[in-house]
């Protein structure tokens, strides 16, 4: 079997005993190809739709690619006229512009020779459509709405929260893996127990704490409660436990301070685990929704997720803008998926944590 056939059969190597297709191969193939369509299809459909004009979005049945109907300005007519492919009685087709429609008959003119009116049955004409990407869907929300602001807020929250998470979690993991002290296992237990405390259980009192700290309507109020992730401490501690203590003892002999041991010896050696945590943290913080929704009530402070949900919940949803901004919101996560997905999948398979 060639490589292509092997891929189509989703099978590695030659069939055992030269068997042909087993029914399980058929099920496998259907499941995988079906999965490919169902998992990617919706996002791809959204991305295609995001380039359509509002008129094209309202069409049913919808087209897959963003088409717009062509118009032409014709001498002697004020408004631009709609262009059609019209079937002539002799069987040929001509591109004509419609002047008006009376009942079933459409009165049309040739854009090149606007003097003569041609009458065509309306069923014999189809609109001329050209592929056109409505890039204004993307530029308008940035210029006229606050989406540039939202994008900046999201980037700020994601980057700052991730940096603080890395520092704070790695420090705690260092203390919990490389020092003997009373209450160490209690501290570890408390950290792991907080895995049990989801936001939905503590959001009311957390809100009051944030308010009394003066962090309501502040991006810091979004960032701070999220940075001490138990998952992060856990991943980093497990990794640091594998670093030999001899390295640290040797550094102490050389009069290195504890702080230097932390950031010049332990941190560089923990880089792979830090990278995994950084990827996780970026995805978590970029995707956060409920907490920012509670803390941020002023429009100029919204993150992309909050802004999107507010705009899409309005009575007159401007779908052409919403779709485009959804694509923008998806971009970082899609980049992570393309380039860093294997670190996440191995991270989850290894620890069972998300």
């Amino acid at each position: 079997m060639g490589a292509a056939a092997r891929f189509l059969l989703c099978r590695q190597g030659v069939n055992k005993g030269g068997r042909g297709w087993h029914w399980t191969d058929v099920v496998t193939w259907i499941w995988l190809v079906g999965g490919l369509i169902i998992m990617f299809g919706p996002a791809v459909w959204l991305a295609f739709s995001s380039f359509k004009t509002p008129a094209a979005l309202a069409e049913f049945p919808p087209s897959i690619l963003p088409y717009v109907t062509s118009q032409a300005t014709v001498e002697g007519y004020d408004k631009p006229l709609q262009l059609y492919d019209a079937k002539m009685p002799d069987g040929s087709t001509r591109v004509l512009a419609e002047v008006r429609r009376i009942g079933l008959v459409s009165q049309m003119v040739d854009p090149q020779a606007p003097g003569e009116i041609v009458r065509v049955n309306m069923n014999d004409r189809t609109p001329v459509r050209t592929l056109s990407f409505a890039t204004s869907n993307y530029t308008e929300p940035f210029v006229h709405f606050d989406f540039l602001r939202y994008l900046w807020n999201s980037v700020f929250v994601t980057v700052v929260a991730t940096l603080i998470t890395l520092v704070v979690n790695s420090m705690a993991a260092f203390a919990l893996s490389k020092y003997e002290f009373r209450g160490r296992s209690a501290a570890m237990l408390i950290i792991l127990a907080t895995l049990m405390v989801p936001l939905s259980v503590i959001m009311v009192p957390l809100y009051s704490i944030i308010s009394s700290l003066g962090l309501f309507n502040s991006l810091w109020g979004v960032i701070l409660p999220t940075v001490a992730t138990p998952t992060g401490v856990f991943i980093l501690r497990q990794y640091m436990l594998t670093i030999p203590d001899e390295l640290i003892d040797a550094a102490r002999m050389d009069k290195a301070s504890e702080w230097q041991i932390y950031w010049r010896i332990v941190l560089p050696l923990t880089a792979p685990a830090l990278a995994v945590l950084a990827i996780f943290s970026v995805v978590w913080r970029w995707n956060d929704f409920l907490w920012p929704l509670i803390v941020l009530s002023r429009r100029e402070l919204y993150t992309l997720q909050v802004g999107l949900s507010i705009y899409s919940g309005e009575l007159n949803v401007q779908w052409h803008f919403i779709l485009a901004m959804t694509v923008v919101t998806m971009i970082p996560v899609v980049l992570v998926f393309i380039f860093l997905q294997r670190f996440i999948t191995t991270g989850i398979a290894g620890t069972g944590l998300k």
Partner: protein, 339 residues
């Protein structure tokens, strides 16, 4: 130190600005070390994380109980009056315990009922799909990591994006109506105004978004099953169905149980994607517990943080029971391994 592999390089890049700051703080920290000794430094390293934990997780956890025993609309505890167990009593005041609509807080019981059916159906369907996906990914596939990634893709998407993707597909002029029209000639339907379809949609969408995560864990479990068992079964000419029921399923059972509990814990808290997709509607047909807490505590005009706190504590009890159950499974597995 070797930093040749790509994750290390990425890590190094991310750490660059941090390294600069860390060089600056070394001198004062040497002073601290001299004053407190190495043990003091351990406390210093642990402090920031524990401080943040204490303020933003443990403290709220404790004052949540106080909240649930106070009344009024104020958020600051000092401005709230003590009402004892009134909030809980209000949640449980019902004309008839068989009819949620007869309760004083009918919205709460509607949310509880909706969440209950959502959890049962979503977890059952999702685990079955995840198991089938894991079994298929565990086969002798060409480009397995590609296929694994395919099913994992939606897991990374934000719930808001997931909600909007599907809201767009279920629109009147959306993809679903388009497909039904092309292949079945059916007239377009407004799915998100129909109570039953909306409920089904929240289940389907949340399965779509999270299934890949559970498939991944189950796949890791399948790959840990010793290959020689399968080889022995093949030598004996055992039928594939029998291999599945007698080898795969019993050996996967511990993983499966953990995955089920994890999925239950997550499903009870469902909020984000549903909030964007349906907003809890039409009516209250997709109003789930977290949204009830959110709206009672923050969003509605007659907000009642105390009532929201009481409801969140009841939800927390369910989650703690589930988590203890999960820990119990883990303990049992460890004991089995020792014997």
């Amino acid at each position: 130190m070797s930093t040749a592999s790509s994750p290390s390089r990425l890590g190094a890049l991310l750490m660059t600005p941090v390294h600069f700051v860390m060089r600056l703080v070394d001198a004062p920290l040497r002073g601290l070390q001299k004053a407190t000794g190495i043990g003091g430094m351990a406390a210093f390293f642990l402090a920031p994380n524990m401080l943040i934990f204490g303020i933003f997780v443990l403290l709220p956890l404790v004052i949540n109980f106080v909240y649930s025993m106070t009344g009024g609309t104020a958020f600051f505890l000092s401005e709230r009056q003590f009402v004892g167990a009134d909030q809980y009593a209000r949640l449980f005041t019902c004309g008839s315990y068989l009819d949620p609509m007869s309760c004083q807080e009918d919205a709460f019981w509607t949310a509880v009922g909706n969440t209950f059916w959502f959890v049962i159906l979503q977890v059952a369907l999702m685990i079955v799909t995840a198991l089938i996906t894991a079994l298929i990914l565990n086969r002798d596939l060409a480009a397995r990591s590609f296929w694994r990634a395919v099913f994992f893709f939606p897991v990374l998407l934000s719930p808001v994006v997931v909600g909007l993707i599907w809201k767009w597909i279920l629109q009147r002029q959306g993809l679903l109506n388009f497909i039904l029209y092309e292949f079945g000639g059916t007239e377009p339907y407004t799915w998100l105004t129909d109570r039953n379809w909306t409920f089904a949609a929240t289940i389907g969408v949340s399965i779509w978004a999270h299934m890949g995560f559970y498939a991944l864990i189950l796949l890791a479990g399948l790959q840990a099953i010793p290959k020689d068992l399968y080889e022995a079964a093949e030598m004996d000419g055992t039928r594939p169905a029998r291999v599945f029921w007698r080898i795969t399923l019993p050996l996967l059972a511990p993983n499966l149980l953990v995955v089920v509990v994890l999925a239950l814990i997550r499903a009870v808290q469902i909020f984000d994607e549903v909030y964007v997709l349906t907003g809890g509607g039409p009516g209250t047909s997709t109003l789930y517990l977290t949204q009830y807490i959110y709206e009672t505590g923050f969003a509605s005009v007659l907000r009642n943080p105390g009532l929201a706190a009481a409801a969140s504590i009841l939800m927390g009890v369910v989650l703690v029971v589930l988590t203890l159950f999960q820990l119990g499974i883990g303990r049992k597995q460890e004991n089995k391994g020792k014997r």
